[in-house]
Amino acid sequence: LTDTLALPASLAKPFAVFLPGDVSLSSNAIVDAQWTLAESIAAQAFADGGPLKGKCPTANEEDLCLETFLQTSGALLLRRPLTDAERTKARALFKSSSLMSSDERLSFVLRYLVLSPSFLHVVEKPSAANQTVTPLSGYELATRLSLLLWDASPDAMLLAAAAAGELASPEGRSAQFRRMVASPKHDRFQKRLFETWLHYQDIRSAVKHERYAEFFQPGVADAMVVEAEAFFQRVYEAPSSSFASLFTSRETQIDASLAKIYGLPAPAQPKAVVTLPSETRSGFLSQPWFLASKATQLEGSAVFRGLFLIEKVFCIKLTAPADIPPLSDTDAQAPRTQRERLAIHRKPACAGCHTQIDGIGLGLENFDTVGRFQTHENGVLLTGEGEWTDESGNRRSYRGVGELASLIAASSPARRCFMTHWFDAATHRKPTRNESADFETNVEAFLNDGNMKQLVERYARSASFATRQFHTSGAKP
């Protein structure tokens, strides 16, 4: 909307659209939200100094003015040219009464466009022949591409490419892809990708015991989120756009509050990019947002961290037993470390899951509840040793976060798992049957190159990107 109508940035709030295949129902709330948006946009667009104020001032040029508005702003709002029926309705609204000013009449046209179901719903229509797999139109492709790369509607250039039929070919889509990923709007995609995958915003709800107040001070959660976003952006935008670097890069952006957690001197500037020591830090696994959100108030949790990585990085679903006993510290010989408590806990009923969970989670035992590196726990030296089962079923030992991160970075199951998260973030659904072959081809390529940006381009170039599979028959006769 802000792109389309040149409205102030204050209005640039995300507004959800319904995607094809979305199983959700349109609730009253979202219709209300659409109405609120229409009213708000109309009020601001025609306010004094607003971008549409006095747009069609003279009576003898009103018709031309309206047609231009429909061809430009209207097409951008609906992501396609208006149909004849829509034009007729828009004209009728504009001509409704001479008692209202041209601004007010045009505001009703604007409301009509924003309230349009085509504004709210991304529609991919079935073919007249009722094929289950239907080629997308140029405008449908433009919308698919812009939602994928920008989380936004197509711009005028993309609509022009659609009108010219350029998006039907992989080369045409590649040309637009290169233009679009260079835009700042592409940041939205990578932000959404990493947030939906790793939920780094969870750190905002973390609470720590008062003894950590010095490190978990007000605002530090915000700094952690900023660090995460900057880190993921840097890795994603790098020429190699390397999946492995998510786990191995030691470059990160810190402020004074994070420097304290990292045990570094406060940077001279409010924010600074630093390279962390290889002995203690490696990728996001050793970043405070991750470590502190997977922790209790008082200590880092090998279980939370291990379970999170198993589920999110390896896409393994573990089934918990009905009643999980707490980690006991009431045994005759009280354990001094989390590692010792977990060893007791790994009795036969729990060993199945905890061998996997602890095998990864204990590799991060050197990090406390806020993400500081620690060498001892209750006087016991922490080794960070763990055991890892690779894709061939072989048990491999490692020591510390660096070795653990390297194992994950090179892991095929981890890359395959990332592909599923990536596809879900990109499309909000799972691959359809007609996409599965292209998806597998893309997986194979990603296993080899690990390049996250090329992953997106290969998807945009694939044949199935330009089609839509319907599960049922087409439109009503």
Partner: protein, 361 residues
């Protein structure tokens, strides 16, 4: 929409005991939209979430509100408190999974541990007290509280049928205000109605344009509904239904005010319209603007709301380690362990507490 109100019961706090009883049923009042509002406080481990802050006490048959609910002073007769629920669901799961199983607005449970979810509890309660549940989730991911930290847009509502429906969260204060108050004409003010002269002509033109706008959009939705594949038709039909509801409110507010509101002779304060610039719903805004005067209106005539406070406490299983040695010390026995382990169990709870007779408010 029919509405009933219930009052807190002293026996509600007992283990496996009824927790709601009917207060009064008021007849001869015209039906209007009403909203069943639930609020969720969770994670009772922390100071601000101590039950003493938000669980009322009964003193001499009178409900004494705790500090967190003081804004509702005077409205006790209209509050429904459901307490004593343990968040555990049948078959296990940790706190987060259980929280997801209970509320609209939290993430869809049933995945991680493969256990079926309960019906959304506030939808269940709404149905039990005779309300049609139209979900209004206010829980975008980044604002979610700790217990629903895995919540993600869009949110989810689980129905009795087992169906899971996505609900788009409302994060924008202006949208929420419109949802609750658009078209609401407080008593003591004059409803908008056609007047006379030139001003009236312009108003009439505006009203006609607005009616035309709604006609055009409604027609577009119908056309699109008939063009899409059948698997998407339900989605467009739901949009059409929602749009008709909107039309009723907006057109009604401008041209056909509900005459029953003229019967009201006290002003029920409507909160000030918030700015949409704020990205966060401010609890202060609502708690200070929703005045106890509304209670008086409730007693006399149809008002807008049925209020419910749904609170939860649960055994936070992951806190069992040495990190939180006093974890249950602050929890009174009254909040412990009525376990909703299945819908059947929940049904039996309500059967013993819900009056069988229905009446209009």
């Amino acid at each position: 929409m029919k509405r009933r109100t219930f009052v807190f019961s002293p026996v509600a706090l007992g283990l496996f005991s009824p927790f709601i009883r009917a207060l009064e049923a008021r007849a001869n009042v015209l039906e209007r939209d009403s909203y069943f509002i639930t609020m969720h406080k969770a994670q009772h481990l922390y100071t601000n979430n101590n039950p003493a802050h938000f669980v009322p006490k009964m003193e001499g048959g009178r409900m004494v509100l705790p500090p967190d609910l003081i804004a509702f002073e005077g409205l006790q007769a209209f509050l429904t408190f459901v307490v004593g629920l343990d968040l555990k669901v049948n078959g296990g799961g940790d706190w987060h999974d259980c929280a997801r199983s209970l509320f609209t607005g939290s993430a869809n449970a049933g995945g991680r541990f493969g256990k079926p979810s309960n019906e959304s509890i506030e939808a269940y309660v709404a149905a039990k007290i005779g309300l049609t549940s139209g979900p209004l989730a206010i829980n975008p991911y980044h604002l979610a509280d700790a217990s629903t930290s895995d919540a993600y847009q869009p949110c989810w509502m689980r129905q009795a049928s087992g169906a899971i429906v996505k609900v788009t969260p409302v994060a924008d204060p202006l949208t929420l205000w419109n949802r609750l108050f658009a078209g609401f004409q407080p008593s003591g003010s004059t409803p908008t109605s056609p007047g006379s002269g030139a001003q009236n002509s312009v108003e009439a033109a505006r009203f006609a344009a607005r009616q035309s706008l709604f006609d055009s959009v409604r027609d577009d939705i119908q056309v699109l509904r008939d063009q899409v594949a059948s698997e998407h038709r339900q989605q467009l039909q739901a949009h059409l239904d929602g749009f008709r509801e909107l039309e009723k409110r907006v057109i009604g507010a401008n041209g056909k005010p509900n005459p029953t509101m003229q019967d009201m002779n006290r002003v029920c304060a409507v909160p000030n319209q918030p700015s949409s610039a704020s990205s966060r719903l401010s609890p202060a805004h609502w708690s200070t603007s929703f005045s106890p005067e509304c209670a008086a209106i409730e007693r006399r005539a149809p008002c807008r709301f049925s209020l419910a406070m749904v609170t939860t406490s649960g055994s936070f299983q992951v806190d069992g380690g040495p990190s939180l040695p006093t974890r249950h010390a602050a929890l009174p026995a009254t909040t412990s362990s009525t376990r909703i382990s299945s819908r059947t169990t929940a049904d039996s709870l309500f059967k013993s507490t819900m009056p069988s007779r229905r009446s209009k408010c």
